[in-house]
Amino acid sequence: MEVLFILIGVSLIMAGGFLFLFFRAMKGGQFDDNYTPSVRILFDQKIKTKEKQLPSTKSK
């Protein structure tokens, strides 16, 4: 049963790791704006490809 001590240590380190990651995300501003990214992800990149094609046709 003494193996439990190791497991407890591991679990504490893991949970502490999550806490640390949460702090870092918080400081990094990940929770500052929780609406815009949900819209941003839905935009397709149609425009960019168009723009890339345009100069290439000109150069030909």
């Binding site: 504490l12 929780n34 425009i47």
Partner: protein
């Protein structure tokens, strides 16, 4: 100027392709799409040139109407000033500049898309990043190739003009307090969760199964985990309790702090000395729940600002005239005696005397009245007025912060923090609560001391632990937090939860008149026909078609004339003539400050001020705005336009007047006294000719008589009164747009609900009281066992979350249900 291809149609209801506004007046056809104005078309042109028309695919008709947009190219010239640039930007190196703009117009997915694709419009823009909730966009650009002014011009060209004002320059660091609370909550949650795991075997007596080693290890791990809770998460409570004790008062945090200390030190004693298991998990849970309650109370409205002063409206820079040149200087450097130039749509930044030009000042920021007034040379113009028309030259009389309006902020009312003279319900109870708890604890100690002293200590600490007012402390934040949300859904935004408790005690309500009781959108309009110069002979009528003294032809000509003007009075005549078909007329000449002029069928038609259309003053009905109509210099008649009362305002005043005193304050002269008395009844106290400082002093006078005052106002001239009153509500037609500093912001559309909101503030107090009753019941049960020395860690670990959760559920359900029953909400949840 090339003539735009306008086609006047009768009531074409096709919405504008850009902004979606119905093109009632005119439609500009362009590339098979209809636009309501040239501004909207221009934006479309810019976007289509740059292949950005996907803007119109993401959301339907995403733009904003460009009708009122200013087209002056030079109005951002001050952004070339190095001092100003340095203050506005977030970051700058040799190549790049990062700047964050506030753009109130951001409202849909298309806005986000366009502002994040700015680099397609100009290659010198590196990127744009939108924060939708805060209506901000951060733009990174190469300042070597693109100046800040050009960037702002580009943004305004596509319809997203940033809001730049003085408060952006004197930026104060943004408080990070709510972030700290989240850190503390996270730490408490982490420690609480782990301590629960380590304490679980104790609850089921499983530690014996695992052996002594584990029990010992678990207890010490609990101590380790409780340290961050005790020394970090709980620090706010110590500070608050200490401050309160220093002021010889007992607030809610005093019993909480006592509970935390007892829990921690008694557990330390139990584990380290007595070899018992302690109450560390209870300590963790207590802080976790308390901090959740605290967080729940902190509902913030990111787009709203409750503490704006005049700086939020004043321009960043002004154009100063020196001997032979124009110079753009920051407003802070403006001195008395300077000669300044104010262009169309610019704000007069300081009290000044008009030297040159035709001043036509719109004081809507200050008073709420949007019809501009004419000022003559040599007259004083107060700061905060907006010039409409050609540029004017002024000489500054007072510095920007010392003017008629801005002097208000030097009043001591603004120096001190807003009074918290009204003690909150929980704080008043907690004093008695703490006394009773301590009494019981000592009684238990003395009782047991005669038989068994160790049991006495146990009973003493158990009483302090079990009565630790977790449930009590959560009643208030959750009730108020829920009420705050209910109000917010109803477009009534409070600065913080404390305002609700203050609202419940209001016994005097003071209304500002202009812009609050009256609204320009509900204006009444009458037309008086003048036969000859001897006087008005015909009846007034307010609906076209009832008593027609204007011929159809005249009406359609007037309609077409006012169509081409953006003046507020023109707009009102225009909407009054709704349904009239516009005539096909030529170009209308608009003389700012005077009126409109048209040559129609070789006759001169003038519509405008008395002087302009050649009317004599003595026949005119006083008290409103008049627009005169003359033909070939002969007066035909005049329109009499009065700001009407807001719809339903009589019932609001009536309802409030039943149980509370009502006062009116108005900056106008008292010509409307009789009129108002007729509508609102004789009981209301009305005060006229009140300047910004008079209003403040009036509130001060009332509050000296121990009145709890609610002030409802809208303009900057009410700012002092809003500040001085117990609760100041700023009424605004568009919530994100404009409001002076206040405790609450209310959408003008919901003013009819004001009595209901006041009532509900009282209801929420009752809910708090009821949930206090609930948590006292838990405490009684707890104390019953505690005085007998029967409390164990397991007992605590069950009772504590149970009482907290039941209080949370009770307050949430009852607040939402009662709000639903009173019609403040559409659904219960």
């Amino acid at each position: 100027m090339p003539k735009p291809h306008k086609i006047l149609t009768d009531h074409d209801t096709k919405p504008c392709y850009h902004c979606g506004e119905f093109c009632v007046d005119e439609i500009i056809h362009h590339q098979e799409k209809g636009f309501c104005c040239t501004g909207c078309k221009l934006v479309y042109d810019v976007l289509s040139e740059n292949d950005l028309c996907a803007y119109y695919d993401i959301a339907e008709r995403p733009g904003q109407s460009q009708k009122k947009a200013s087209k002056k190219e030079n109005r951002f010239d001050y952004l070339l000033d190095r001092d100003i640039i340095r203050k506005l930007v977030d970051f700058q190196n040799e190549e790049e500049t990062h700047i964050t703009f506030t753009i109130p117009l951001i409202h849909c997915a298309s806005c986000i898309w366009l502002l994040e694709n700015l680099h397609h419009l100009d290659t010198n823009i590196i990127s744009g990043r939108v924060d939708f909730i805060r209506k901000k966009v951060q733009v990174k650009f190469k300042h070597g190739q693109l100046s800040l002014r050009d960037l702002v011009l580009l943004l305004s060209k596509i319809g997203y003009e940033p809001r730049l004002n003085l408060s952006d320059v004197d930026r104060k660091p943004i408080a990070k307090t709510d972030k700290k609370l989240i850190y503390k909550l996270a730490v408490a949650g982490f420690c609480f969760g782990n301590m629960m795991f380590f304490s679980l075997p104790e609850y089921f007596s499983g530690a014996e199964l695992l052996g002594e080693n584990f029990k010992w290890a678990f207890n010490y791990l609990n101590i380790l985990l409780s340290l961050p809770v005790f020394f970090y998460s709980a620090t706010d409570y110590y500070r608050s309790a200490w401050l309160s004790l220093k002021n010889r008062a007992v607030n809610m945090d005093v019993p909480i702090a006592i509970g935390i200390f007892t829990l921690f030190f008694y557990s330390l004693y139990e584990i380290l000395i007595a070899g018992q298991e302690g109450y560390m998990d209870t300590l963790g849970g207590l802080l976790f729940f308390l901090l959740i309650g605290k967080l729940y109370q902190q509902k913030t409205y990111d787009t709203l600002s409750f503490d704006r002063d005049y700086k939020a409206y004043f321009p960043v820079a002004v154009t100063k005239l020196t001997k032979d040149a124009e110079e753009v200087i920051p407003l802070t450097k403006l001195g008395v005696g300077d000669i300044i130039k104010v262009r169309d749509q610019e704000l007069v930044p300081a009290d000044s005397i008009l030297l040159e030009g035709e001043a036509y000042i719109d004081y809507s920021f200050v008073t709420g009245e949007e019809v501009p007034v004419v000022k003559k040379r040599g007259e004083l113009i107060y700061a905060g007025g907006r010039q409409k028309g050609k540029a004017i030259t002024l000489t500054v009389q007072k510095s920007a912060s010392q003017g008629y309006l801005t002097d208000l902020w030097n009043n001591e009312a603004f120096q001190k923090e807003k009074g918290t003279s009204l003690e909150s319900l929980s704080n008043r109870i907690s004093g008695k609560f703490t006394a009773v708890v301590l009494l019981i604890a000592f009684a238990a100690l003395t009782y047991w001391a005669f038989t068994d002293f160790s049991v006495g200590i146990k009973a003493f600490t158990a009483v302090l632990i079990i009565t630790c007012p977790c449930a009590l402390a959560m009643s208030t934040p959750f009730t108020l937090g829920n009420t705050l949300r209910v109000f917010g859904q109803g477009k009534f935004y409070l600065k913080n939860a404390g305002v609700i408790e203050k609202l419940a005690f209001i016994d005097t309500v003071v209304f500002d008149k202009t812009g609050t009781l009256t609204a320009t959108s509900d204006a009444s309009l009458e037309y008086y026909h003048v036969m000859d110069e001897k006087g008005a002979v015909s009846m007034a009528y307010s609906m076209p078609g009832e008593l027609d003294t204007l011929t159809e032809e005249t009406k359609s000509v007037i309609k077409s004339m006012v169509n081409q003007s953006t003046h507020p009075l023109s707009n009102r005549i225009n909407s009054w003539l709704e349904g009239v078909k516009g005539a096909n007329i030529g170009d209308v000449e608009e003389i700012q400050g005077s009126g409109l002029r048209l040559i129609y069928k070789s006759q001169e038609i003038k519509l405008g001020s008395a002087e302009y259309s050649g009317a004599k003053f003595q026949y005119i009905k006083k008290g409103g705005n008049q627009v005169f109509l003359s033909l070939e210099g002969v007066l035909l008649g005049y329109f009499f336009i009065q700001s009407g009362l807001r719809k339903g305002i009589e019932t609001v005043v009536d309802e409030i007047g039943k149980t509370r005193e009502v006062h009116f304050l108005s900056g106008d002269h008292d010509h409307e006294r009789d009129n108002l008395r007729k509508v609102f009844g004789p009981r209301i106290q009305m005060n006229f000719s009140q300047g910004p400082t008079d209003k403040l002093l009036y509130i001060q006078k009332l509050s000296r008589n121990k009145a709890n005052i609610l002030m409802v106002g809208d303009g900057l001239n009410d700012a002092g009164a809003l500040r001085e009153s117990q609760v100041g509500i700023a009424l605004t037609d568009r919530v994100t747009n404009f409001s002076p500093a206040s405790d609450a912001i209310m959408d003008a559309a919901v003013i009819h609900k004001l009595p209901a909101y006041l009532e509900f503030a009282k209801t929420s107090r009752k809910i708090i009281k009821a949930s206090f009753g609930l948590s006292f019941t838990y405490n009684l049960i707890g104390i019953f066992f505690a005085v007998q020395g029967l409390v164990s860690p397991v007992f605590c670990a069950i009772l504590m979350p149970l009482s907290s959760l039941s209080v949370v559920i009770f307050t949430t359900v009852s607040t939402n249900y009662l709000a639903y029953k009173k019609g403040l909400k559409d659904q219960i949840f």
